[in-house]
């Protein structure tokens, strides 16, 4: 069976479910969202990622209807949603605090939205039971929110927001209150539920790992702007800016000047160091300032100078971060520049090759590093 790849953002014929068109939001003098245009497609699991205060929550609250854009339009299914109040939108939200009604049982919490729609009793019962089953909460239906655990409360919040079968589900830091282990399990559960229900999810998070795990596309935000919106692997492997490269995952950034050479560029970055070489689609003028971003796992660490690689630098091990499955070495070059290199610990620790103060060679391939503009 062949499966078509889900990427409507590459299909020019696909119509987006949500369209931000030149949306600006100001609070007094403060510009929270600065003239942003963005399309989100049906069945997508879209993540808004960024540090606190970057505007991601404002984007979500505008979708929910709790804030109105100062300028621009937001379309849902081709219809401007500005005049539609939150209680009339086919959009539901899962709140960061869960916002479960403490005086109602789990069952009544989930039924709350359905009752507002004046659905028939039997239909409500059926729907609530389905939600309870989906979130594995059948046993807790009669309990009050303060009588269940944090993980269960999170699932009640999810069930309640999904109960009305919204066109769009917004999740505001949905896993923020869970501990690390539970968070991982819940991430997969979320993806599972998203796939089963076929609902479009928009998630707001500051945790890049969470965004990368669950989302089909990630929008990295900074100071009210979407810096890059792309699939997790594109964001990681082809960051469009130093900000994105630095925000997502671990990276070494080397500043230098580019000089065209062969299919790529030579980057001079320090006195007494050989220039580095990187291939890229972008064009740089001779002598243009640039940044070279290298992921630590793409850097090999060896005792001898490797012959087959053009990028090879010698340095001294400054620090070793042992994480169990991997170790990150911080290697200082004679000029003071520190480069991170990662190795998988396939061997036991006692047989580890390198230790502090060892002089080692770092190397990477011509295509491993990403060349970025200033």
């Amino acid at each position: 069976m062949t499966q078509t790849v889900f990427e409507p953002w590459n299909d020019p014929d696909a119509t987006p479910l949500i369209q931000f068109q030149g949306v600006t939001k100001r609070f007094g003098d403060f510009t929270a969202i600065d003239d942003q245009t963005l399309d989100i497609y049906e069945r997508e699991f879209f993540a808004l990622l960024g540090p606190s205060g970057c505007g991601k929550t404002t984007m979500m609250r505008m979708l929910a209807g709790f804030e109105a854009p100062t300028e621009g339009r937001i379309l849902l299914d081709g219809q401007d949603i500005a005049p539609i109040p939150p209680n009339k939108r086919a959009v539901n939200m899962m709140f960061q605090s869960y916002a479960l009604f403490p005086h109602l049982s789990v069952w009544e919490n989930i039924a709350f939205g359905l009752k507002r729609d004046r659905m028939e009793k039997s239909a409500i019962t059926e729907r609530v039971d389905r939600m309870l089953k989906l979130t594995r909460l059948e046993k807790f239906a009669r309990r009050k929110p303060h009588q269940i655990s944090g993980g269960q409360r999170q699932r009640v919040a999810l069930a309640r927001s999904l109960a009305k079968a919204p066109k769009l589900l917004l999740l505001d830091e949905p896993l923020g209150a869970l501990d690390a282990k539970l968070r991982q399990d819940t991430q997969f559960e979320l993806m599972d539920i998203q796939e089963k229900t076929g609902t479009t999810f928009v998630i707001v998070t500051h945790d890049q790992e969470e965004a990368m795990t669950v989302a089909s596309r990630v929008a990295v935000m900074d100071h009210g702007k979407i810096v890059q919106a792309d699939t997790p692997d594109r964001i990681y492997e082809h960051p469009s800016s130093v900000y994105v490269a630095d925000f997502i995952g671990d990276v070494t950034i080397i500043e230098g000047t580019a000089t065209p050479r062969e299919a790529g560029y030579e980057i001079a970055f320090a006195e007494g160091q050989p220039p580095l070489y990187a291939e890229t689609d972008k064009t740089f003028a001779k002598g243009q300032a640039c940044h070279l971003a290298i992921r630590p796992e793409k850097v090999s660490i060896t005792a001898e100078k490797p012959r087959d690689k053009r990028n090879a630098l010698q340095g001294k091990i400054l620090d070793i971060a042992y994480l169990g499955n991997i170790s990150t070495y911080h290697v200082e070059l004679p000029g003071g520049q520190v480069i991170k290199a990662q190795t998988a610990n396939t061997r036991r620790l006692s047989r580890r090759t390198f230790t502090w103060e060892d002089t080692v060679w770092l190397s990477w391939t011509d295509t491993a590093a990403v060349l970025l503009e200033d």
């Binding site: 209680n87 539901n92 939200m93 916002a99 403490p102 729609d117 309640r160 009305k164």
Partner: protein, 296 residues
Amino acid sequence: MRRFALIVLPYAWLLALFLVPFIIVLKISLSDIALSIPPYTPTLDLSAGWEGTKRFFAGLDFENFVFLTTDDLYWKAYLSSLRIAAVATFLTLLVGYPIAYGMANAPDHWRPTLMMLVILPFWTSFLIRVYSWMGILSGEGYLNQLLLALGAISEPLTILNTNIAVYIGIVYTYLPFMILPIYAALERMDASLLEAAEDLGCSRLTAFWLVTFPLSRNGVVAGCFLVFIPTVGEFVIPALLGGSKTLMIGKVLWDEFFKNRDWPVASAVAVILLLILIIPIVLFQRNEQKQREAEG
């Protein structure tokens, strides 16, 4: 040992200042009126020994309680007190809830000021505040002068010495007791609950009735009891603002005690009043406990 001391202290306090005086009042209510000092018999004479003690107990009876049932003044006064207290409590709730709601929704930096304004009247004497209402409500009072000047009325309204004045006095005096517990309940409420309700299809108004009001219920119940319980036995307000038709048990008690100098009957009235109030007091305590459990 320290724990023991911690428990003993409050109980010793209760024993000395509540239980002992209550037993004295109970004892007087079982005595007979007499022209002596104190104005009742029998009194316990320990020097007479065992015989004296036996005589003392033989002298106690329920005559005064029986007397309360023979004159319809008393049960009418009790009923009327309960009715006035219930109506006044309801009116206080109507006035107090919006104030508490407004306070809880006011900007953060305003709240301490608003809180102070609610508590401020306590800094002046209760008696003076009730007297000043006489100045406001009387025939030539400020209220009538204002309404006459505005042309809203052509003749002064008779408010003072009616039940309306009593209600105004009670609502005014006990308002903080209603506002503070409701405010405490509303202030604790998570604002995202209302957004969640709206998100799930509620209008603002239904969100209030389905979320805000139920969550402030404990505050409402606490406030109602805090107003109702002292109001039933209220004396000063009906005495100063009420008229001859205002029948409240506090006034009856005062008359028995100071006008008739009938301490035993006055004590019996007080004992019955306490028994009537035990029911709402127990309910109030249960409400408090339930709330603590729900939060724990």
